[in-house]
Symmetry: C2
């Protein structure tokens, strides 16, 4: 008799941060955990979004019993509009997460036909040979869940994104007693969040930010403008609470902030005392020390309210001397430059600006080293796989696990696409499936590949030179001089003589060889060679050279 | 009788970090302080370097008495090869700084004719109505200087880049007693480094890093690879000292590291016990715990030794399991992603990696808030201008100055190009001169302007579509169908049908209007309009559309 074997296949989130997605497979059943997206890196020119490659799942579509979502952040739900229609299975999540998924699907016209199921904390759902239980974890969004997955091979704990906060704003700390209970019963495998495995100590409680906001509202001589992630509902709650305490009214600015405030008020995740929320048309004549704005724009997004305000480009809100701006967020890597520019612009207009480097205005949503160790200690897993992080985060988390006593040979640092097989006694990597980045650019998903990106990269560096070679169809002879047009290469007025000279260079090169349509490949290479050399000598630049033949 | 007036004109370093340069003018004399470069931001596509705009100085060339350089970092000397030949005046600096300037000038073939003068600490040089004295400051390069500038209007103190370190590795702390003495005598104006004005407290002493390196050399089971800035000579000294203590030999890897070690050994800035430095061909057979490498690559530069090692692409050095890699540097903003990738690759090959986030392996070279306050307190200037920083750093530094008692109206936050006039009684901004970024791209300086960059930006996002319209010269009629070639826009095989269809779109549009060479402007616009619309509908992308007319 063969024992059941479990396969764990990370499809995203373990090679780069973001785009979290994982498959678990046991005999004829597959479940999928999270379907996230990633925002493009600097080198992915012109790309709008990056989603996981799910070819492994598409080949086994009939085995998939459902998708389980841990929480409503983009890097856990954002690829659903693109991938759910292809997979067409039920999606299980907590209530707020479901609300956020509906909004996403609706935006992309993918809501029709979607089977979205709400699972309460402590509730269980059976998906083939998997039984999945949701437990509450603290994170920077309400209703975030970790998963307890009962499988024929043993119990698996998946932390989701989590931190420990004994005094969270929404009153739902990570359920440590349930985890301790499981630890006592025996857990086969822990999968745990590595995002902040580099940071020693504990992540401070959200309360610390509450105290700063309280002080700011009390002491600011004028208006207070607070910017944060729209999904960071607990922060919005803290702003409202501090405003209420200091008799300030709250103005919500920006579309996504307005939408999420409305939705979370309706669902009961956000509480606002009567009359505290105000409309912008009530602003006129209000004393400045009675006003708080909550806006989007903490990442320097060019169309966000805060950036428009900083650029004096917002219709309704302008910076006044004496305003205090609070950036209650940390920069997502890659956004530092645009955020710095926004802060500079706010300072230039006379605002006082508080941001993470200079004041305790933000705490992040992931556990630091001591919290990670605590989780390992409570759950006492036999095997451990660090998830959610780049290789260095996973490596450091693996070392933490060793330091609390998990044997080195029971710890596995995986990469996306690895097929990890686990029995109650042992685990090993047994294969590799297609994984990696699928690019969304405009309407199309996946058509932008390495060739298009390589071309964009080349174009971005030194521009393009188009060479038009007109050839007589009958004789194969050149008609007139080659034409040359460039963009992004040189200042076309200043470099006029050089461009003229390069036309002669091409003409001379072709004179020797003669032109025949049949030899186009040869001509093409020759034109590129002589121009590459000529332009590099003249400018030390290497534009893309694109010869085009016109037959007349 | 009119009193002499002093003009201070920052030409770089106050709107963006880097590219430090300032002019001081009194009657018929101008001195220039620092001539730095800046590395291009992400949005400056294809640009190699950025240097200051010196048109103000070129118009007053006969007034310039000399250039004074505070220290040998790129952001203070890097633009000299481009600008010194145009200005052609003597350059004053300390000895090591002069050595580094020679190297830079030689690389760019600008050394011939350069008048480089060494000034010792405590030494003075008279430049027209200015008398300039150099005093030692602690910074992340030896021989860094601050300036005391005696002018007819009063004494000015320029901090250079500085921090306070009472136990510096090279034994030369910032000369506080000279500054206290000046403070007692009366200082008109302090110009002080704002780079780290965001950080509370004190910058730790270099000794902290020495202790970490000592522990690493003692405890590392195998070889140790330390990466740092090649100009951070005190760090190289610390590595050599720690290696010597633990009987390890030191291998220098990478061209720029080798060059600087040779030069600083010769000049006496670096000291190595006999026999400690080894050649790579001596590596074979050495026990791993007797080996230390010092390499370049702390910023993830693609051709640096460390990045080649991380990519298994170095001829002589490969990572072995048990190696410890120390990144003794912090990322310069913008380099985070490539550095992270390098760290990930080192971890993947089994190295233990120590970097600033996880260990005390680096301290930076600029003073934090308490140090800035201490300098203000000692110098007791009547007027204060924060320098070296972006607007938020300057604003925060201005607030620090207020907090130690400098009246708000005596503090001036300037931007590049501001003309600031100062008398013994008052200062004000009286004008603006041309300043900003001059781009170096390949061989040319300044020819890449906003049009070329805008084109590169557009090309980088959605690529280009070239439309070739062949027209009979006599009749003005279209010859054949328009040809269309694209790069970086879509996958040309997958989108073949769409591209074909777009040829018809152009043909139809031109059919209606007829083509006459005289109407090319009109045709050009029309082709771009119809294709823009067509492609956007089909793809939601906006490639650059470049119509080219061929007359036959």
């Amino acid at each position: 008799m063969t024992k059941p074997r479990l396969k764990i296949i990370p499809l995203g989130g373990l090679s780069e941060i973001g785009k979290n997605m994982m498959a678990m497979e046991c005999e004829n059943d597959i479940i999928v955990i999270d379907v996230g997206l990633m925002f493009p890196g600097e080198e992915m020119l012109g790309i709008d979004l990056v989603i996981p490659d799910i070819s492994y799942l598409l080949e086994r579509r009939e085995k998939i019993r459902g998708i389980v979502i841990t929480h409503g952040h983009e890097d856990h739900i954002g690829a659903l509009p693109y991938l759910l229609p292809q997979l067409d299975v039920p999606v299980y999540s907590t209530r707020l997460t479901q609300g956020l998924i509906s909004v996403k699907l609706k935006e992309r016209k993918a809501l029709a036909g979607a089977k979205l199921k709400v699972v309460p904390f402590g509730g269980q759902v059976t998906l083939g040979r998997f039984r999945v239980e949701f437990f509450p974890v603290c994170h920077s969004i309400p209703d975030a869940a970790g998963l307890i997955i009962h499988t024929p091979v043993g119990t698996i704990v998946h932390s989701g994104d989590f931190k420990l906060d004994y005094t969270p704003v929404d009153g739902k700390p990570t359920d440590l007693s349930r985890l301790a209970q499981l630890g006592a019963q025996g857990v086969l495998l822990l999968l745990s969040d590595s995002t902040y495995a580099e940071l020693p100590g504990y992540t401070p409680s959200e309360r610390v930010v509450g105290e700063t906001l309280d002080r700011v509202m009390a002491e600011a001589p004028g208006r207070v403008i607070v910017t944060t992630f729209s999904s960071l509902v607990s922060r919005i709650q803290q702003v409202i609470d501090a405003a209420a305490k200091h008799q300030r009214r709250v103005f919500i600015v920006g579309r996504s902030m307005t939408d999420i405030v409305r939705m979370t008020l309706e669902l009961g995740y956000l509480k606002a005392p009567d009359g505290i929320l105000a409309r912008l048309d009530e602003l006129k004549g209000m004393p400045h020390n009675r006003v708080v704005f909550i806006t989007t724009g903490s990442q320097g997004e060019p169309t966000s309210a805060l950036v428009r305000i900083a650029n004096r480009d917002h219709r309704q809100v302008h910076i006044l001397r004496g305003d205090t701006v609070v950036l209650s967020a940390t920069p997502i890597p890659g956004n530092e430059a645009v955020i710095n520019r926004t802060v500079d612009n706010l300072f230039k207009q006379g605002a006082q600006v508080l941001y993470a480097k200079v004041a305790q205005v933000h705490v992040h949503g992931h556990g630091s080293q001591e919290e990670l160790k605590l989780l390992l200690n409570l759950v006492k897993p036999r095997f451990f796989i660090p998830i959610h992080g780049e290789y260095r985060h996973l490596s450091l988390h693996a070392k933490l696990a060793q330091s609390v006593g998990i044997p080195k040979e029971n710890i596995f640092v995986l990469e996306d696409g690895d097929v990890f097989e686990l029995s109650p006694q042992a685990g090993k990597i047994t294969g590799k499936v297609s994984s990696g980045n699928v690019y969304v650019d405009g309407l199309s998903v996946g058509d932008v590949g390495s060739v298009v990106l390589r071309n964009r990269r080349m174009l971005s560096r030194d521009g393009i030179v188009v060479v038009i070679i007109t050839v007589n169809r009958q004789t194969g002879k050149l008609v007139g001089r080659p034409d040359i047009v460039s963009r992004g290469f040189v200042d076309t007025r200043e470099a006029k003589d050089m461009i003229e000279e390069s036309r002669d260079v091409v003409a001379r090169a072709l004179d020797h060889s003669g032109v025949r349509p049949a030899e186009w490949g040869f001509i093409n290479t020759k034109v590129r060679d002589v121009l590459n050399r000529f332009y590099y000598e003249q400018t030390k630049r290497r534009p893309m050279i694109l010869p085009v033949m016109v037959k007349v």
